[in-house]
Amino acid sequence: METADPGPADGEERVVELRPRTRSNPEGAEDRRSSGSGNGNSMNSSANQPAVGSRVDGEGEASTSDAPPTAATPSSAAAVATVTAPAAKERPKSSQPTPVPQVPTAAEFHLRAPRVNCPEKVIICLDLSEEMSLQKLESFNGSKTNALNISQKMIEMFVRTKHKIDKRHEFALVVVNDDALWLSGFTSDPRELCSCLYDMETNICEAFNLEDLLNVILHKIDLPLMENVQTIPPPFVVRSILIYSRHAGHLQFSPSEAVSKMLQSPYFFFDVVHLHNGAEESGEESSWKDIYSTFCSLDSKGMGYRFEVSLSGPALELHNCMAKLLSHPLQRPFQSHASYSLLEGDDAQEIEATV
């Protein structure tokens, strides 16, 4: 499955294809590239409009699409990291945080699916190494608890909430010891998944076999193949959420071609919650930051969410990460743009949105 559009070569301007008015694609719902007015449709797409939501132009969930023509060409993608010249009615984007470091080069274009809330197939991968049982997390009442305990609760919250939002979402549970084991799913019934969630044991594990996990996932899913990635919503997307905690070893990873293809699919997402001991280890042992950056490098599309949480910090942090992971991968902002605060600096951060 191709992720790159076999159209104009990189460096040339791309013409935005007008969205077909199919019954499943009503006007204005997905086209982020049309004008910022509420009844946007594709009629004002001009040849100057960028074809792809490039990661670097600060495009967040609520940004308008009045990207200036100069920012349109793929070849200048790398240069638009600080685009601040939007149409007059927009708020200046200079107050935005700079994007995540892994900016794709002009050659690494990834087409983005429309922002439709299609059903998700969520694969929750739980690391069962012994670090999950360390009683170091601080719970609400001040007592100590462990990551496995909190993970179980937050996973239950996650699946029940997703189900409440949309009954079409499906879930699966994978546990990882030395190998990955597919425990349950796909099911749309949260209770079915939750029934496998408890009664788990952790043990001392060897280095995490990421390749094995991704292969297990690969063989259980069938990613959609859409004719036009940008305009036609997929029937579903697949999302893996990995809750990872072991310290042991280096995260060696050389993906097969099939796994790479899966990772590059516009309909596959890989989110990580990395629980660590916070220590900067010297010597032969790689620190948690090395492992974390391996996870980052998996995310060639720049669309994954990653959290690092200290195992000896407040459990609240862990809950909050899972809450942030509730967001639909096609509708959520880039992680760097996400912001949830109710009280702080409201008006300054208002940005016009198109739906």
Binding site: S24, G38, M157, R160, H319, L326, P333
Partner: protein, 393 residues
């Protein structure tokens, strides 16, 4: 009455057609597969009672006569159509059910005058012409009641309705001997701007989106009048289901020329509300994404009927689920606040519904978002307190 199951008709047709004499099959095929003769486009023409005029020694299939069921003015006409398998070039004979007095003038039936058995559409066209004649015949029969004739003639004057009517001045009520009639009218409402997503859920072939008003006069003086509204299934669904069929009672002493425009206006208003509701919901969602967009969890990107936000207050995360009704903004969106951390004692997600918070349908989306934010700020602290007091971690 309406038969919603178009697919059933086509499915049944196939074995029937195989029994028909091969030369006649194309003519019947057009009738059954494409035949929509009258106002009621959701009902198809049906064939039954296949027989043959050939001797029993003739090898089959050789059926050449059948009953054709034609929806008309809320009734079903059952006409016998009789071909001759041994002479398939000839046009058929017709027996018009119990309407012994219906004697169409053959010279006024173009497709009979120029019958062409090689044209597969010929029978269908002839049937249409006959139905038109039948309609004229029925209108003539209205003369039995000056009151009903007046109803008919006044509607005829109005080009909006006069051209799309089916009249059935039917058999007298067998108990009372009362003369009765039914008018079936097409209501000219523009459905073309109904948001497409509202129409796509029905599993049926959409066909034409149509609204029909059937008015039954059970007596010649029009003292017992029973109107009924029919909507094609996807329209009914789009307008909110069976409640969309509610129409005012026919006023006593009233007449169609006043009543029908009322119904038309009512329906037009409903359509407007639904269209407006869609656009208003979309505006609302856009405004909320603008104010809270960086914390969006999910929203209905098709019909804009729901939106979930993740908000944080003093390090504590909350969800707000917003449900937008069909007749928004007249109807207020429902807010459900949910804790990230708590469950109820029965293991459900800890949440609280708010249906009547400060709200005005006159606010635009932006104003609604601002007011909602203000409301959240006042409500969240007590919600949080309640969660910690009553919820299970």
């Amino acid at each position: 009455s309406f038969n919603p199951d178009l697919h059933c008709c086509l499915h049944l047709a196939t074995p029937v057609l195989s029994r028909i004499s091969p030369e006649l099959r194309p003519l019947l095929s057009s009738v059954v597969r494409n035949g929509r003769v009258g106002l009621d486009s959701t009902n198809c023409l049906r064939i039954s009672d296949l027989k043959t005029g050939c001797t029993s020694l003739t090898p089959g299939p050789c059926c050449d006569r059948f009953k054709l069921h034609i929806p008309y003015a809320g009734e079903t006409l059952k006409w016998d159509i009789i071909f001759n398998a041994r002479d398939p070039e000839l046009p058929p004979d017709f027996i018009f059910g119990e309407d012994a007095e219906f004697l169409p003038e053959p010279s006024e039936l173009p497709h009979l005058v120029a019958w062409d058995a090689a044209n597969p559409e010929c029978l269908l066209q002839l049937v249409k012409e006959l139905v038109q004649q039948y309609h004229s015949y029925q209108c003539q029969r209205l003369r039995e009641s000056s009151r009903l004739l007046f109803e008919y003639e006044s509607l005829l004057q109005d080009p909006q309705y006069g051209l799309s009517m089916e009249i059935y001045a039917g058999r007298k009520n067998s108990w009372t001997g009362e003369f009765s009639a039914r008018f079936l009218l097409k209501i000219p409402v523009d459905f073309s701007n109904i948001p497409v997503y509202l129409l796509k859920d029905t599993a049926l072939d959409p066909g034409e989106d149509v609204a029909l008003l059937s008015v039954s006069f059970e007596d010649a003086e029009a003292t017992q009048v029973f109107p009924k509204l029919y909507l094609s299934p996807s329209i009914e669904h789009a307008l909110g289901g069976s409640s969309a069929l509610h129409i005012p009672v026919f006023p006593s002493g009233g007449c169609l020329i006043d009543y029908v425009p009322q119904v038309c206006q009512l329906l037009t208003n409903k359509v407007q509300y639904v269209i407006q509701g869609y656009h208003k919901r979309r505006e609302y969602v856009a405004a909320f994404l603008s104010h809270f967009g960086m914390g969006v969890v999910e929203y209905d990107a098709e019909g804009f009927t729901k939106l979930t936000l993740l908000l944080m207050w003093k390090d504590f995360c909350f969800l707000v689920h917003v449900d937008l009704p069909l007749y928004f903004p007249r109807d207020q969106p429902m807010l459900t606040f949910q804790s990230i951390y708590h469950f109820t004692s029965s293991g459900q997600l800890y949440s609280q519904v708010q249906k009547s918070y400060p709200y005005s349908p006159r606010w635009d989306g932006n104003e609604m978002a601002k007011r909602a934010k203000a409301y959240f700020k006042t409500f969240i602290p007590q919600f949080q307190e309640g969660a910690f007091a009553n919820g299970k971690l």
